[in-house]
């Protein structure tokens, strides 16, 4: 096929108009999108879930458990987290003073 014939073919094909969508096309699209999650504003949990699928949830659970354990320990008269941190701090200060 020579260049001229190929060019003619392409030009004719280019001129062919595309069909118009059917009248109910928009309704079909809307039916389909209603089954999809709402776009745009995602909740904080959704965003976390997308960024760190399970890690974020597990980390939150661990933190929550630690805080709960600290409260329980305080209530039972055991040394709590604050006391532990203060003790550690004193030891550290004592250690640095020693040098």
């Amino acid at each position: 096929m020579n260049e001229k014939k190929m060019r003619r073919l392409i030009e004719s094909a280019r001129a062919e108009p595309a069909p118009e969508p059917a009248a109910e096309f928009t309704a079909g699209v809307m039916r389909a999108v209603r089954q999809v999650r709402v776009p745009g504003k995602a909740s904080v949990l959704d965003q976390l879930g997308e960024l760190f699928p399970r890690l974020a949830t597990v980390a939150l659970l661990v933190i929550g458990l630690c805080v709960a354990a600290d409260f329980c320990a305080s209530a039972l008269g055991q040394p709590d987290l604050t006391g532990g941190v203060a003790e550690l701090s004193e030891q550290w200060l004592f250690a640095t003073k020693g040098f």
Binding site: R8, A18, R34
Partner: protein, 187 residues
């Protein structure tokens, strides 16, 4: 077209039903893009619907810097490319069964002045295009049928300028060979 971005903001803020207005505004444009890659009416409609659903899913990523139609065109082009890749698994052989008598007559004719009607020409091209890879089909369609520049093709496909140029040259050569093969088959 300026209020497309405002419409997108309203949809994101909860006015989901207004997405229908975006579909109505841009459906003809999406059909025009996709018709170059799929001529079957039902498959074309499915592909257009797939494009709008993808747009809906990604609406949160539309930043309004480019016109909504450009953004939607990129989604349509990628949907077309995925479609070509899927279709390629099912049909590789070039056959003349789908061509009408006029198209066959034009192919047989040695007269390069002979006219060919648009629909027939598109059918011949679609048949020859099956010999090209999906990426080559995309480039040659955008360049030759849509008349797009290399820069525009890069924007819509995400490919580099060199890749587009190289692919376009290769695609044109392969298209010519495919057309010559069709010519020989009809004689």
């Amino acid at each position: 077209m300026n209020d497309d971005a405002e419409l997108v903001v309203r949809i994101r803020n909860g006015a989901q039903e207004e997405f229908a207005e975006l579909v109505r505004r841009h459906q003809s444009h999406v059909f025009a893009i996709l018709y170059r890659y799929e001529r079957d009416a039902q498959k074309l409609e499915d592909l257009a619907q797939e494009t709008f659903v993808k747009a809906w899913r990604s609406l949160g990523q539309f930043d309004g810097r480019a016109p909504f139609q450009h953004w939607l065109s990129r989604i349509a082009v990628h949907a077309a490319l995925d479609h070509l890749r899927r279709e390629r698994r099912h049909r590789n052989e070039v056959g003349l069964g789908d061509l009408g008598e006029d198209a066959l007559g034009w192919l047989r004719s040695g007269n390069d002045e002979r006219e060919i009607e648009g629909r027939q020409a598109a059918e011949v091209l679609a048949l020859a295009m099956r010999e090209l890879s999906p990426a080559e089909q995309l480039v040659i369609t955008m360049q030759e049928l849509e008349g797009r520049s290399v820069k525009e093709i890069c924007e819509r496909t995400g490919s580099s300028s060199i890749a587009v140029r190289v692919r376009a040259v290769r695609a044109r050569a392969r298209l010519r060979r495919a057309l010559e093969k069709l010519e020989r088959t009809t004689v």
